[in-house]
Symmetry: C2
Subunit: 345 residues, 2 copies
């Protein structure tokens, strides 16, 4: 590697700057990138969206199982997911890191930055600034993404009675992956994609932007706290309820098999008070899948959008007028589900 | 106090949101504030500026001497200062905090937020989003400010040979305050304003905006690393040198007196290799004064701008063509000064 990090703040900033340029992107679309008091970007018409996420070692990740490259990817994807959930197009990012001395190695830092820049390139985002500090304590990462859109954002509050409830991709994988990572044992071929969901999530950036442009989509959120929790946020903001079809839930591959073999026990999930199957409970309460959960009117052509983006979209229920209540059929009985959130702290 | 913080992430977000609204500002100018996946703001013509600063307990502040209200003020001011140094107008802010359990008290959090919002109101900035996490370790604060301007930012790289070198306000106070705070003894009337400079800095927001609009101003930076270090950044970026007039340096009141009485020893400052007086060394190397250091052509009417803003502006030198060299007269001898930076880590 030709670019070396040699140990003080200014060297590290130069190092990241060079890696940013080296990564094949130029700064043409940003007016001024890393290295002045603030980054300058071209103003835009319409509306900006901005989101920031803080990841703390020991709370959001553990360096015994999170490798630096994956951590770089995830640091950006969590914020990209928020921008996607507003239906906005991500454009610029800022990265602030408090570095404990144990991570001040060439290997750790270059892998971390490589992961971050991989994620940035994949989503067409430019790293334009940030801050670095030392810390006597855990590694702390704060990533900020600025997006833009022609609209004022697809809010949580826009759901309408009778709207379908949709979710992208498959659910439960990230929390299943976390449980496997925390057992610390060697993982199998079935388990690897689940670990990937936890370690290197992929925000639904293109899908989010397209959903933001659809006049049929009434509300949206990303699944970071778990389906029940995030649907709860939408219902609370919209003053409405939901009827879920449990059988429709798009469960991540491998979870049922690993539950049967005893490998997954759901020990990290919240209590399951209504007797839902463990596999479904992973899909309903596992956090950090970073799929998009949205509501849309009945004439929404979700199959077409699914084909266009290559992203599965599943209708999992309908919005009702029972404010705040999530109902479902469990073994022929209509039951009320708790709006459980995977609380981040 | 009618709004109480009761202990989980969502309560705390609600608490901050209510304090934001309560603080007398409404969210009219921001389209959507705290509480969705991302904050939405109106796009703007011209150019955006964005800066983020991370403050880490034990590195940037110590809770044995930094009270929560001041810490709230400073958390925002450090980022405001970067936006001011680009000549931009600050508009929106984001606040991310990793909270150790020791600060999860009503008193700490409400005072911290009050300080932050005081600073936000003073500068016409709206807190529109952020993130909260717990941490087992030090308190970590990351504050981001977005500004806007008609221009592409007053860079560090624009200085021209023959330009005057100017600085706002008075220098050395923040580092003198830090030394006093770290002695831990009761402070006197002379010392209080110095403590204030360290604990509750005031970014030069109005002055920065006006300097950004002046066609005479060629480069600008804020004094956060110390005058010699920050001037060094300007010279490096501009490929030029400087001749400083030490006698012109606007030294903060009280420093000379406290040096004479033995109260200030400069023990936190970098080594002084060229025999400059300790009072001047405070002004030249003490960090965190958050004054504006800028260069301007000879027809710049700095007295008029000083009157308009009520802010002292002092000419302290001139830009030369000796790339990278800072020269000055010391006791009749022409000496080269080191481009020493107060490194933040």
């Amino acid at each position: 590697m030709s670019i070396k990090f040699e140990g003080n703040e200014f060297d590290l900033i130069r190092y990241i700057k060079e890696r940013t340029v080296e990564s094949g992107r130029n700064l043409e679309s940003a007016v001024l990138g890393i290295g002045d008091d603030a980054a300058i970007f071209k103003g835009f018409e319409g509306f900006g969206a901005i989101s920031t996420d803080m990841l703390v070692e020991g709370v959001d990740f553990d360096l015994t199982w999170a490798d630096p490259y994956s951590l770089g990817v995830k640091s950006l994807e969590v914020s990209l997911s928020d921008i996607a959930a507003m239906g906005s197009t991500p454009r610029y990012s800022l990265l602030s890191v408090a570095l404990p001395s144990k991570v001040l190695t060439n290997d750790f830092l270059s892998n971390f930055i490589d992961g971050y820049l991989f994620s940035a390139e994949r989503s067409g985002v430019l790293l334009i600034g940030g801050d670095l500090s030392r810390i006597t304590g855990p590694l702390v990462i704060d990533s900020t993404v600025i997006g833009s859109a022609e609209h004022k954002g697809v809010r949580r509050s826009g759901a309408k009675k009778g709207d379908g409830i949709f979710v992208s991709g498959r659910l439960g994988g990230a929390s299943a992956g976390l449980e496997i990572l925390m057992t610390g044992e060697q993982s199998s071929q079935v388990e690897s994609p689940l670990l990937e969901r936890q370690l290197r999530p992929t925000a639904r950036v293109s899908l989010g932007r397209l959903l933001g442009q659809s006049p049929n989509v009434s509300s949206m959120i990303d699944v970071s706290d778990g389906l029940l929790g995030d649907l709860g946020h939408v219902l609370d903001a919209s003053g409405l309820g939901a009827q879920l079809d449990l059988r429709a839930l798009p469960l991540e591959d491998g979870i049922s098999e690993l539950i049967e073999s005893g490998r997954l026990t759901g020990r990290l999930l919240p209590d399951n008070p209504v007797g839902i199957s463990l596999a479904q409970w992973f899909a309903m309460t596992g956090g950090e899948d970073f799929e998009l959960l949205f509501t849309a009117s009945s004439d929404f052509e979700f199959n077409r959008l699914s084909e266009l983006t290559g992203q599965a979209i599943t209708k999992i229920g309908v919005i009702t007028e029972e404010s705040g209540l999530i109902r479902t059929d469990i073994k022929g009985q209509n039951a009320v589900l708790p709006k459980i959130s995977h609380t981040h702290f």
